[in-house]
Amino acid sequence: MSGLRFAAWRVVLGLITLWLLSVIVFAAARVLPGDVGRAILGPLADARAVAALDHALGADRGALASYIEWSRGLLQGDFGVSYAYRTPVAPLVAVALGRSLRLACLILAVAVPPALAAGLTAAHFAGGRIDRLLTLGGLALTVVPEFVTAILAMLVFGIALRWLPISAEPPPGAGAGTWLRHLILPALPGAVALFGYLARTLREASLAALQSDYLRAAILKGLAWPAILVRHLLPNVLPLLLTVLAAQLSYLLGGLVVVETLFRYPGIGLLILSAGRAHDFPLLQASVLVLGAFVVAASLAADLAVRWLTPRAA
């Protein structure tokens, strides 16, 4: 398949996935028990007022009709109006997503370079003591729940040593440095988990490459180690790194609800959570779909990049 046709095919697949996601989200939202008007007005409100609000919001219409109307609006760039906040949904989602993106970028910046170094080192000394330490340590770091890491980090750096603030929200008007300081502790649990996972994955990939014929050929050619590492090993490990990172994006953006709760950092995860609790369908649907679009786009970009880096037959 040619590169262009491959890209087009992947875009089509991505769009189908997104459409399917929208149907799932929409259908699942209707299953949430309870009444929208009641959730907004509270248990003491008059039944007629609740019905009137339901009608005004359009929450009393059939599922299919509202899905069609919702998707028509979506295609025109209109994400709808939040039930709970009575304001357009788009800015709310944008602000929350922006916070989540900042946190995700900080996590990536902190976790990826050392994971690459650790993975390569472990593969080079495969079977040795360093390798065992890194694989078992990496495993432990990956699988410990974030609230455990977060609590331990708060305990040590925030409370015992008092090095870092334990709230993610900087005081108003603070500079970039303060802002970054407040984000370090929240980024730590995700970074630790990602580091462990990436280091182990990269170790496997590097080890496979190191044992391959082409790498042995490069060594037997008389190339020096730096050249082997940069020209022969990395091009074969990077595609995997990209694929894995794309697959982890969903976790990095929306999976850190626990961290967002602990550090009171209102990212997209918390937004989805609160929208779900408040039966705020427009906000819920929009935030899940935008998050899904980011994840699908990232996996698309990773696939295309991988194909460009290693143009093996697909």
């Binding site: 996935t17 495993l139 699988v143 410990v144 729940p145 995860g269 959570l273 899940v288």
Partner: protein, 262 residues
């Protein structure tokens, strides 16, 4: 090589024993408002919590809800994901394409978001927790199983079985399954570890059991606020317990995979 149990299995068995013996710890988990938030001492090795209950006893008893949810959830994921992955891998074509899209769509949702979403709908309860974690993990298992089935069905022994006129069910169950079962079981063990992780996280977010359950996630969410005041023990010990069980399950899975067979 003979299979030898490692430290991972030891940790899992320790917590399993704690779960089974949980009722025996009840006498120590009674309220006692005279000794609220006592730091660790000889009388209370891990201290007492904000209601004067012994932290050690509650931490040990907290293993029970985890063992009631995580294995069942993994089993559901295994059944759902296993059958979807098998159909996709063996049938190929349209079935594979449809299941593949569905898996992609479900994986585009962060795991915890998916779980939260469904738990809001169903209301927090232990069966709901099991169903949700099972559903959330099914796509991951489906992907593993699909890849394994696909790799096997390209081999000539499957062709030979087809040329003997064997039915699809016979080929899947008697020819392919014995070859991929070890890989699937290792994957299921890894998922079991993450199920513990997820169950604890959901408990922490208030989607699991209600007080006064000794559930680890729930206990931590109730007590982490006390840390700022210096009472670190009520939250720290359940946190360490969660970590040790998750790590134990994963170490066991790792050892199993490294030794190449059950």
């Amino acid at each position: 090589m003979r299979w030898r149990p490692g430290p991972g299995l030891g940790l899992v068995l320790f917590w399993l024993a704690a779960a089974l013996l949980a009722p025996a710890f009840l006498p120590w988990t009674r309220l006692d408002l005279h000794r609220v938030l006592a730091p660790p001492s000889l009388a209370h090795w891990c201290g007492t919590d904000q209601l004067g209950r012994d932290v050690l006893a509650r931490t040990l008893a907290g293993a029970r809800p985890i063992f009631e949810t995580a294995p069942a959830a993994t089993l559901i994921a295994l059944l759902l994901g296993g059958s979807a992955g098998t159909i996709a891998g063996y049938r190929g074509g349209m079935a594979d394409a449809a299941i593949g899209r569905l898996i992609d769509a479900l994986l585009a949702l962060p795991l915890i978001v998916l779980a939260l979403f469904a738990l809001t709908a169903l209301g927090p309860s232990q069966p709901a927790l099991v169903a949700v974690i099972g559903l959330a993990f099914a796509p991951l298992i489906a992907r593993t199983v699909r890849a394994a089935v696909l790799a096997e069905r390209r081999l000539d022994y499957v062709t030979l079985a087809q040329l003997r006129g064997e039915g699809s069910l016979y080929i899947l169950a008697r020819e392919i399954l014995p070859n991929i079962a070890p890989a699937i079981l290792v994957e299921a063990t890894v998922r079991l570890g993450y199920a513990v992780f997820t169950a604890a996280s959901l408990g922490f977010l208030g989607f699991g059991l209600s007080p006064p359950s000794p559930d680890w996630g729930l206990t931590i969410s109730e007590t982490y606020g006390l840390m700022a005041g210096g009472a670190w023990w009520p939250a720290t010990f359940p946190a360490l317990a969660t970590a040790s069980l998750v790590i134990g399950v994963h170490l066991a899975a790792e050892r199993w995979r490294a030794q190449g067979r059950p």
